[in-house]
């Protein structure tokens, strides 16, 4: 077998599949007219490709459908059982188990702690001067009350007011 033959033989499949460019196809066709070995090689490949699609087609056997739907019934049953297994015991555990209750309360407590923490954090985020203003306002209002209470605690005034009241009644 010549070097040329070896070079072309690598391309025979592509040649038969008509995947080569026009120039390459021409070269191989020219080689095949002059080389008996390569011609036989191409002929063998051609026969093989022709024989390939001729494998017989089969039809499903008589029991094919029956077997399949039987498998489907089993599958559906398994799926239904699987669903029940996944959900029902979970619900029962939630109602009955003490451990689940403890875990839930723990989770709730943790949640509340987290919420409180963030709420406090948010408050601390208020600028300091605004906090002072708020405190001052509170102080002023308290001062007013204190001033009034001082008036009320002045017994001289209270007595005088009492005498005046009695005089008016008399």
């Amino acid at each position: 077998m010549s070097r040329e033959c070896k070079k072309y033989q690598k391309r025979f499949v592509a040649y038969l599949d008509r995947e080569l460019c026009a120039q390459e196809t021409k070269l191989i066709a020219a080689h095949l007219t002059s080389c008996t070995v390569c011609r036989r090689e191409v002929q063998e490949l051609q026969e093989l490709f022709q024989a390939l699609p001729a494998l017989p087609m089969i039809m499903p056997s008589e029991r094919y459908d029956e077997q399949f739907w039987q498998k489907m019934r089993v599958l559906r049953q398994e799926q239904a059982e699987g669903r029940a297994k996944r959900w029902l015991p979970g619900l029962l555990d939630f109602r009955l188990s003490r451990r689940t209750g403890l875990a839930a309360s723990g989770a709730l407590a943790l949640f509340l702690c987290v919420v409180t923490f963030f709420a406090l954090k948010q408050n601390s985020g208020v600028p300091r001067n605004e906090l002072y203003i708020a405190k001052d306002i509170e102080l002023y209002s308290n001062m007013e009350v204190i001033e009034n209470s001082e008036i009320l605690e002045n017994f001289e005034v209270i007595n005088m007011l009492g005498d005046l009241e009695q005089e008016e009644k008399g």
């Binding site: 499949v13 490949l45 390939l52 699609p53 001729a54 494998l55 089969i58």
Partner: protein
């Protein structure tokens, strides 16, 4: 939206229409069975695996997305099942195939022998060639065999085969090319042995 009646059926099934699944099964079972049969070359195994494919369709219907033709999705499942099952050795068909004593292949050969007397030389030669091709196909590596089946029997384009096998078009081209050369070599060796 993809214009494929089987995609519409699959979407209907996804929405809870069991009748749509039944129709999908009826309309695809023979083609799918033959696709798998050409891969494993054993009727019993092909029937089991094709049923397994439809069961997988039923189980995974929820996750189905109509991104391509229904057949692309179906045969992708079939390809995966075939390759996985054969690799797992569940069906152990390789040993059977090498001996060709039992299974479908054996019965087929016996049937040919029984009818040899009434057949012409041409027919005998043709059947011998088919048997040789069957044996050679079985001897091919799985991916090469799958690609070749898609190309020769289902007459799919490289792009469609690439979608089915989950690889690039260039890879498919190379796989098919190699599979044909390998097939030729296997057949040559077989004939030399004779």
């Amino acid at each position: 939206m993809i214009d494929d009646p089987h995609v519409q059926l699959m979407l209907r099934f996804q929405g809870g229409d069991e009748g749509a699944f039944r129709q999908l099964f009826e309309e695809n079972k023979t083609a799918l069975l033959n696709f798998i049969y050409r891969f494993c070359l054993d009727r019993r195994v092909a029937e089991e695996l094709s049923q397994e494919v439809f069961l997988r369709v039923y189980k995974t219907a929820r996750t189905y997305r109509p991104e391509a033709m229904f057949s692309t999705w179906l045969y992708r499942i079939a390809t995966n099942i075939c390759l996985n099952e054969m690799r797992s050795g569940k069906y152990k068909y390789e040993r059977e195939l090498k001996s060709l004593d039992g299974g479908d292949g054996g019965r087929f050969l016996e049937a040919i022998d029984a009818h040899t007397l009434v057949k012409t030389d041409e027919k005998i030669a043709q059947e011998e060639r088919f048997q040789a091709v069957r044996k050679a196909l079985r001897a091919l590596p799985e991916k090469q065999r799958m690609a070749l089946i898609c190309s020769v029997y289902d007459q799919l384009s490289y792009k469609e085969i690439a979608e089915r096998l989950g690889c690039s078009e260039a890879a498919v081209k190379s796989i098919i090319h190699r599979s044909k050369l390998a097939l030729r070599d296997i057949l040559k060796k077989g004939f030399h042995k004779k």
